[in-house]
Symmetry: C2
Subunit: 444 residues, 2 copies
């Protein structure tokens, strides 16, 4: 792991740069560093003070407005009035734990379940994707009687003790624990032209490693669009073989939909659907409440029942009427504003724009993704085998000057990670492409 | 552990009782069991469908209103308009992660820090108390280089993998892992008249056990009012000796304030204050956002810095402007409505009422607690050494018929756990005492 630059640190304020513009903001930064200390994580060499947001735009304290291509939490648009209204209305009426019955909670769970394959009959709500993945891992370990987990090598699955252990990208020092094996992400660099077979072979090898170590295999868990690994979506169906190998070995397949879920990939509501696989557990989070802290898992009922024989699971804040009303409004907005289709249509238009840029600039070495989740590889000399992490960092900071917020992914930070709100318009795509073109021209 | 009835199951709907009144609610219960499956946890033999709440009262679908002595999340009152207003206003303006600077976030953190001793300089916000305790444990293990954790024998510290391991009350089958040792709670039954010395001796013994097992000692973690153990608050300062023993052995003291914190104990803002101890880490949660999912830790900065050398910690939903605005409104309401003082005054009045009942009914064998967090032991034959878990269960269900919602605590569920909202009035105390008197007369 020591050669991997933690993705969490990409583009972070390092505490050494000059303070951002003006006395007020310098004071704010000082307070921030005093308050949160070493756990403070800020974007940009000069952090931005934000004051408001709407649709795909955020406005800073100095009045500058930024097009947000970074956040995938406010997925139906920042501060969507219908979502905020539903949350506020329910919070004023009743906000309690799930030990009482409530109509909206069951209405929401019914609606959410309808988005999943029939075999995922149960939903357990949590507060965060971290809690969801933590629970999913425990259910898998209980169901299989095994401990071994297989992940990809720049995976991120959350911040609890158990899921940090399966998140190579969060580990700064030391390696993975023995019961976790990381395989290279499903890239051409790693596996050549037959990604499906290569990735399945890697999973098979990891299974034998875990069996040799005496842990057995509990689960293969992947973000179904491999966000932090660099965004890998094609060819459709490439995951199927690896999942079959895992399930045949007695392990489960957990689809982590915290990033790709809720219509972002355009072709389906969930990222795993494009691979025609049947997950044993699906975890979900970030965009689920458009900013209200909520997440959860969908799970085969017999797996959940076995887990609940050993241990009581209750989540105080989760599955409240407010979470349900908020989550329901998100589902309504996705449907009523046709956002899945917009993700497909706008995503295709975005891809065209990126391809047009790539024709003019050989440093763009690959364009991947689905819908409004895309990854664009950069390389300073145009050689895909020489990842351009530094160039990506420079472009991200240049993009900020052109009023676009965007992040990085990949083992070497070589990938621009593109995930704007799903309500994106064609003119906003144009704004982004123009800013990226200008930024590339001034970098490197 | 096998003799311990999990507290999470006390008073739970068992899935076998007759469905609650009417076709509509029966349908709702069916949907609930289908949706959440084995992880469904419901109160009462006949679960209640709730529709609204205000102050200390909740209203069911059939129009019945209930006095809520159970919830300690809506601590400043259900659906407090000032808290809901602050949340809604901020959610309509900006709701993003903490990678950008925001005035309200730092204002909140400054205000929150001012409630702690000076040495706890850093705050890390999370979504839930579980995430807070999970983080606290990891920080302690990193700081000490040891793994061993000492808890009390009916402790509950949350639902993640790592904190379920230190929550004996959540474990239904099997024992604690080897790196966790549970000591009896600070009760007279366990330690006689000198609880401070007895509890410190038990902690010392646990330390040597963990050292003998090769784990060393990372932390003693206790809920500073021992909620799930049965509510133990007196004599003031009894924790001091045990904390000194732990810190002298090189371990940390973590005060879990998820239950007693935010002015509930009346005499102080935090439960640990009554013991005149200096925690190395404090975790907080439930009442922090009055229902908005937020929690966190306060921590010595050098401990946090060491932890952050090894691993990136970032929490997507936590420390958002909405969490900050909501948390700030909670602090404002506690101050402006003088709720800490009300907890002290109303708590004293409540204690008088309970003592009056105890004079008339020998089955009340002990009354403990501070402010508006109290525990009342029941024993069917008035013998404190024969805990009345069944009687408590009967009383809880009788209280429901008298329109009061209340729960249980303690290893055998022998303790009525009393924790109403802090805005409780004297007339509501009267209502409660009358209902408890009637319920006791009809039970056993």
């Amino acid at each position: 792991m020591s050669d991997v630059r933690p993705i969490l640190d990409m583009n972070a304020f390092d505490g050494k740069s000059s303070a951002p513009g003006g006395h007020a903001q310098s004071d704010l930064l000082d307070r921030r560093l005093r308050n949160i200390g070493a756990a403070s994580v800020l974007f940009y060499r000069d952090p931005i003070e934000m004051v408001s947001a709407s649709g795909c735009w955020m406005t800073a304290a100095d009045g500058t407005s930024y097009l947000d291509f970074y956040n995938n939490v406010p997925s139906v648009g920042h501060c969507h009035p219908r979502v905020v209204g539903a949350m506020a209305e329910q919070a004023a009426r009743l906000n309690i734990n799930s030990r009482y019955l409530h109509q909206t909670v069951e209405t929401y769970l019914d609606r959410l379940k309808a988005t999943f394959p029939d075999h995922l009959e149960n939903i357990v709500l949590t507060c965060s994707g971290s809690e969801a993945n933590d629970l999913a891992i425990r259910i898998a370990q209980r169901a299989t009687g095994a401990r071994g987990i297989i992940v990809t090598e720049s995976a991120y699955h959350g911040n609890t003790s158990a899921v940090t252990e399966i998140s190579p990208s969060a580990i700064k020092r030391g390696g993975l624990p023995d019961h976790v094996v990381a395989v290279p992400p499903p890239s051409k660099q790693a596996y050549g032209d037959n990604v499906a077979a290569g990735f399945a072979d890697a999973v098979y090898l990891a299974i034998t490693t875990l069996q040799d170590r005496g842990y057995g295999v509990a689960a293969l868990i992947v973000d179904s669009i491999f966000s932090s690994d660099g965004v890998f979506s094609n060819p459709k169906g490439f995951l199927r073989l690896a999942v079959a190998v895992m399930q045949r070995a007695g392990g489960l397949f957990i689809a982590d939909e915290v990033q790709p879920g809720f219509a972002r990939t355009g072709d389906a509501f969930w990222g795993f659907s494009r691979h025609d696989v049947a997950p044993d557990i699906v975890s979900m989070g970030k965009p689920m409440g458009n900013g209200f802290p909520m997440a959860g898992i969908a799970v085969r009922p017999e797996l959940l029942a076995a887990f609940c024989e050993d241990v009581g699971y209750f989540n105080t804040f989760a599955a409240s009427p407010v979470a349900a009303a908020t989550g329901l409004a998100v589902l309504d907005v996705i449907r009523d504003e046709d956002l899945q289709n917009n993700a497909a249509v706008c995503g295709a238009y975005l891809r065209e724009g990126l391809q047009h840029l790539a024709e003019m600039d050989a440093r763009i070495t690959d364009i991947r993704g689905a819908g409004l989740f895309m990854g664009v590889d950069l390389s300073a000399n145009g050689d895909p085998s020489e990842p351009g992490g530094q160039l990506v960092g420079d472009v991200i900071n240049a993009m900020r000057r052109h009023r676009v917020l965007i992040g990085a992914a990949g083992k070497y930070g070589q990938t621009l990670k593109i995930r704007p709100p799903l309500c994106l318009t064609r003119s906003e795509v144009d704004f982004f492409i123009e800013a990226l073109g200008k930024s590339l021209r001034t970098c490197g």
